[in-house]
């Protein structure tokens, strides 16, 4: 029994179908608890007032925007090396979720920035890198849509994803070099174990991050199943026509 058994599309659908309601249930439960806790039961920050509540949307969506691209990179590599169709289709399924997460992070950031920094948008390194990430997602999705043949599309988007990742990291450093920012440093530094966010805000924030993560997982499962079915349908129709 190895993990690669799940690369069989039939097996993947059979295994994940009963899982989806549980995953989605857990995601919605976490999000409801986290967001309600954050929205109703946390105090206002003494400097930022009630805008601090935006953190429960902003940080988790930003986190997932990056992780979604990371997951696409890994599945693209798996597709190029082992040629499992499920892997390529999972990357395709994840891209629109990633772009929505990026959009949420940008929108909530703009709404938060307006009262705090007095501007909707600043060419700050973090903000700029997210805008660049958004452009990368757009290009990736556009390439998927443009190519008819599914295998060609999977190959080319995988190559684009890998090259894009290198340039995305490069852009991140270039942008840092280019401008000093308004944005505060990381809110949840894992390596140092220190926190810049106090405990009152931290617990609901973690619940929200788990919620966004599980929601992402559930959506990827649903959308991957859809892609697998759509592909099988295309193949069947092609066979019947011939």
């Amino acid at each position: 029994m190895s993990i690669w058994e799940y690369a069989n599309p039939k097996k993947f659908i059979a295994t994940t179908t009963p899982l989806v309601p549980w995953v989605m249930g857990l995601a919605i439960a976490c999000l409801v608890v986290g967001l309600v806790w954050g929205f109703f039961f946390t105090p206002d920050d003494f400097r930022q007032g009630s805008t601090v509540k935006i953190i429960y949307l902003h940080v988790p969506s930003a986190l997932m925007a990056i992780n979604a691209w990371f997951m696409m990179l890994i599945t693209s590599l798996i597709w190029l090396v082992r040629r499992h169709h499920v892997s390529a289709l999972a990357a395709r399924a994840a891209a629109p979720i990633g772009i929505v997460m990026t959009l949420i992070a940008l929108i909530t950031g703009a709404i938060w920035g307006q009262p705090m920094w007095g501007t909707w948008w600043a060419w700050d390194p973090r903000l700029t890198s997210f805008l660049i990430l958004f452009l990368f997602y757009l290009g990736y999705i556009a390439l998927w849509e443009a190519i008819e043949d599914p295998d060609t599309a999977a190959d080319l988007t995988s190559v684009l994803c890998i090259v894009g990742s290198v340039f995305a990291v490069l852009s991140r450093y270039a942008v840092n070099f280019w401008n000093q920012g308004l944005h505060q440093g990381t809110s949840v530094p894992v390596a140092t174990g220190e926190r810049t966010v106090s405990d009152v805000f931290f617990v609901p924030l973690v619940i929200c991050m788990v919620g966004f993560g599980v929601l992402f997982l559930g959506l990827v499962l649903i959308r991957t199943q859809t892609e697998i079915r759509a592909r099988r349908m295309k193949a069947l129709e092609a066979r019947m026509r011939s």
């Binding site: 009630s50 805008t51 935006i54 009262p115 079915r229």
Partner: protein, 53 residues
């Protein structure tokens, strides 16, 4: 029930409304497409089975 959001009520509420709206929209679109494709696949499979017999 509503917490006092002070001066920034409009900002906080728009941020929540837009984000939740986007997430729900994504979820609804994913589910709807999933249903549609499943139904279409079932139909195509049925047609194939008839053709095979």
């Amino acid at each position: 029930m509503m917490p006092d959001l002070g001066n920034y009520a409009a900002e906080v509420l728009t941020a929540y409304a837009l984000s939740v709206g986007l997430l729900v929209g994504l979820l609804v679109l994913s589910l709807r497409r999933s249903r549609k494709v499943s139904a279409q696949l079932a139909e195509v499979e049925a047609r194939k089975d008839r053709a095979d017999v």
